[in-house]
Symmetry: D2
């Protein structure tokens, strides 16, 4: 089995401290997929019989379909838990071989790379919808004159659509960046094992192809130690969130009584019992806050890898929560801004009045 203990058992509080099992739910699916590809390759290279392969695949398929059946209590991470599940289902003879020529060091990087690939697609789909929303609203408001501001002081005459399109342009660069990150993420680390590869004959390109990777990370130290592609992904989302936060800021200011240029839809605002006539831009404020949260996540990851020696260190486990959290938060925030943009009301009159009273 994967991780054997030194003689003494871990104290409960140490096990809890070491365990990543809760965050691992979101990579479970990818872990199973990776194990499927790895097992098929092991079979093709002669390390697993057809019978063993079948048993393993059946167990893995069950794990994928009914993940709740996987016992997680007492395991340090999902890799252990799935291995134990497979051994229970497929027997020690077959299941025990599933991790031949593999280590959790290359496995965890594989899982996260697969997860990021899907997240990039989700984020880009949401971004595309938001950009469509912005352009749609821009089309209907291209004749709506509105003051433009520098230093938050009235500066020139523009249109509301001019602002919406400025957001769309910036977000298109974000999408472009995500597309470019994908290339560096989409390389398979599988086969690098603990750090130095395996003495057993394996076919790294085979698993890469089965899992849809463009290529492999050639150097095994690089494959298990480097996290620069993850950093690039999180930095890209931090930049994207910075743009969303600035859009939120514009909308918050414009929906004050004093500016009054837009009115948020009821379902994108809150109120309070004491002052029911108020319309508070809570979802926008939280989007603004999330930009700061993601900056913090990026700092956490940059800090974790700071001055870390080559070779897997357990520190790298803590990259997962801020990385996964960044994906989820960004996706939510894009959808919130999308909904807010599509549903907000434009107060042309207030814009016109402000322009008239301006010099």
């Amino acid at each position: 089995m994967y991780r054997s203990r030194p003689k003494d058992k871990l104290d409960d509080h140490v096990l809890k401290f070491l365990s990543s099992i809760q965050q691992d739910q979101s990579i479970l699916y990818y872990d199973v997929q990776g194990s499927e590809a790895h097992s098929i390759m092991l079979h093709e290279m002669g390390h697993l019989t057809s019978g063993e392969l079948k048993k393993i695949l059946a167990a893995l398929e069950e794990a994928k379909q009914e993940p709740d059946k996987i016992e997680t209590e007492g395991y340090e991470d999902i890799h252990e838990a799935i291995e134990a599940f497979v051994i229970k289902r497929a027997g020690m003879d077959a299941g025990g071989k599933m991790h031949t020529a593999r280590s959790r060091n290359d496995q965890v990087v594989l899982d996260i790379r697969m997860k990021i690939r899907d997240d990039i697609n989700d984020v880009c789909a949401a971004l595309a919808s938001l950009i469509v929303g912005l352009v749609t609203r821009a089309q209907e408001s291209k004749r709506v004159p509105m003051p433009m501001y520098t230093h938050l002081q009235q500066a020139q005459i523009g249109t509301f659509s001019h602002f919406l399109l400025s957001y769309a342009y910036a977000l298109m660069r974000d999408m472009e960046r995500l597309y470019l990150v994908y290339q560096r993420v989409n390389q398979s680390p599988l086969g690098a094992c603990a750090i130095g590869g395996s003495s057993i004959s394996i076919d790294r390109k085979k698993t890469a192809i089965l899992l849809g990777f463009d290529s492999i990370v050639r150097n095994s130290i690089d494959a298990t130690s480097s996290r620069d592609a993850f950093l690039e992904y999180v930095a890209t989302l931090a930049i994207l969130m910075s743009t969303l936060g600035r859009i939120a800021e514009d909308f918050i200011i414009w929906s004050t009584t004093e500016f009054g240029f837009i009115e948020l839809a009821d379902r994108y605002s809150s109120t309070s019992s004491a002052m029911p006539q108020k319309k508070n831009p809570d979802p926008l404020e939280l989007t603004r806050a999330k930009a700061a949260i993601i900056t913090g996540n990026l700092v956490s990851i940059l800090g974790i890898v700071k001055a870390l020696p080559s070779g897997y260190s357990r520190d790298l486990q803590d990259v997962k929560p801020p990385l996964l959290g960044t994906s989820a938060t960004t996706l939510d925030a894009i959808k919130v801004i999308d909904g807010a943009v599509r549903s907000l009301k434009i107060n042309k009159n207030k814009m016109r009045l402000t322009l008239q009273s301006s010099w």
Copy 2:
């Protein structure tokens, strides 16, 4: 009731985005306590009859004893959920008055202040234990000569206890700092309401005394807008974690085969199936990583409050998760280092050999 909606209902994804209900479990207890004190004060000021007070207190007591009974589904935060619970138990007539002269803006700051007070005590207790552990081990190793390093190069002769005591001194400053933070945390914001206090007669000092506060935050804008005491708390823990991370680094280096000065106890190390003779310092590596995580949390909070206008904004809700996470993580990390210190084996021979071979 607390938060009434504009006409349209929130979309599910917006509600999820707005909701802090999951993080709020850890302030539930304090929220109930705060409501008890507030209700008693309302009664003493003549705003609640004895009967109403009794009903409210009974409901709150039930909430405290059996928090699982509180319905949270569909509520944006724990304040709403508890209010709804009380109204259901105590009736609209009594329960509906519980929030007289109060807002979730002063309430949430109150809850977090009470939570931090307890967390400071917990962290200090754990720190005290760790310091005792360090001093104990120092006493038994004060005759153990060991090389001292600058730039990780052998520099002078010292003792193992000299290092342990250097940690103890640093951690005592951390404890001192926490004690000082407590003073600024231990001031009651209750009664500041949304931002400008209440026109209803209340006794802010009364609730402060009931809840064990030293004094009140006098200015109501300050009470609801400022988060500097929270920042101070998180910064203090970030500094403490930085010290723990450096202790971890020393131990990681000293437990390499090459240095070999100490050996971690089995229950504070991990191994791997492929190389069962290895002893990996996983809990120490995670402690090192946690220092970076907490730095990220601090950055998140500093980022959230950056350039936030006076008056409660929903952004401030997002201060909670990094703040609460910082408390919990720091507490865990202290205990891990405490256990590691108390159980590690000192290799006097290796220290002596290194000194002999040194110039």
Copy 3:
């Protein structure tokens, strides 16, 4: 002499990379003071004759009075440069003994501690002036009704003075924190030498008293390795800057044409040739930006010490620039806000009009 080279000379670009000589100008004065106290102690302990002491003190006094005479070209830091200056003036026999029982490892920490002490006093003096300014303006505006905002939406009626006092309260906590930091800064590390103290008899308390320290940092590893007091200082200023940035934000919003509650004095605003009637709140915007700059400085220092082993490492040299920059920037920003507060014009009419049109 202090730092002797291995055989080969440093390449120019490496020397430039290693050198801190430019940032060191601001600790030159303290370095000289520290050398004076150290030399007096060395004399009292019998390591320097009266004649040697006189020569050294004369050279140091010259260095203090005419710092421009100190050759810095080719030296890695100010400690080396001053030592070379003293040797040139006092001769190798006397000057060469000045660093007996001292290392640049304890010396640099000493210098920075002395610098921070003075900076704390300067910052507190500037803060006191700002608080006086706020209270003065508050007194004259306590009858000026003004809308209060939550979520940047009009919420309750308050007064302008209510806001000004909320700032004053927050800044008083900042001053309180600085006072508390002073205690942990004001401890002498001198005598810790490279890491393990000195075999030569010295009197650490003597130098501490001469230099105005409350006490000494007892443990020599702690004295040379720890930077927690510096982190505490920078974190405290980051929190203070966060408050200043929020004041700036309020003022920026209130001085828009749309809100129009205040008007900045000409000398605290800018304009542009194209739109001369505009009044841009540039000094406030830069104050807001500085809050982010200081957060970055704090992250730099937390990152530098992250996972640094015990004992001086050259990494610690890079703590200086962000630390010194934080002091200077904070001081400037306080003065800018002070001047802006004292000179801004309150538009009572606009406040009244807004209140009247509000529900």
Copy 4:
């Protein structure tokens, strides 16, 4: 002229606070180039006569050749100072027209984009040299067996070249990223003016072509407000520095007496007078520290743009110092690692001995 003052003059301390003139020296060259292209375009569009253009270009050429002649005292930034210089040389009639249809808002973004283009080329050239150095040393050490580590514990047998190539692979990704950033940087913002473009007929594509840009930033709000390309650049360097810092960490550990796998050349190490036999890896330690410094710079810039409304705000001026500092520091650090790699001595014996004593 560019920036006219409101009636009152700025206080000296406010001018100092506002001024970016010192940091601007490194964009002076680009500012002049931009003005040349802009003036040529103005002439082609009929806004400047041949005579006026000649006078302006002569003055600008002088500014480029002898930048020390440009008076900077009393100016807030280099744009003002150069304009004043041109007006003095070319006369008010010609020089005063140089900024027709231009604002410092589009000008400063233009300058920084041009500066980043050159910096990317410099960084990539230095990276290429470092990669060549790594591969060269790898070729000569591919038969040098060396232990590989996970968790800093001996794990598998590898070779020294395996490590060097892992660095080379990672750095090639950094170079790839810089190449991709270049595309988004290399778009001309010129012509966006203050925020909304100009009513005067200009040819944005003409200036873009003259200055070597691939295309223009179409939307004028986007062109003056967005800083995502700058963030992307700094984030890319932060990731690169994180890799360099990890290489430095490996080398620092390997050059301890205990590991002893490599020995730094004298000119890439330091020593101390007290312990002249020590060889301290100071340049590597500073490289490690610089990684943290750059993370702080990234945080500063992310913090500055956080929640900034659309349209130029003076906050953006403070993006310059951390951005320019990041370029310079990264370039220095690459060269230091390059020199260290090429000059370090490999201790094959120590590697072999460690492998033999290992299980």
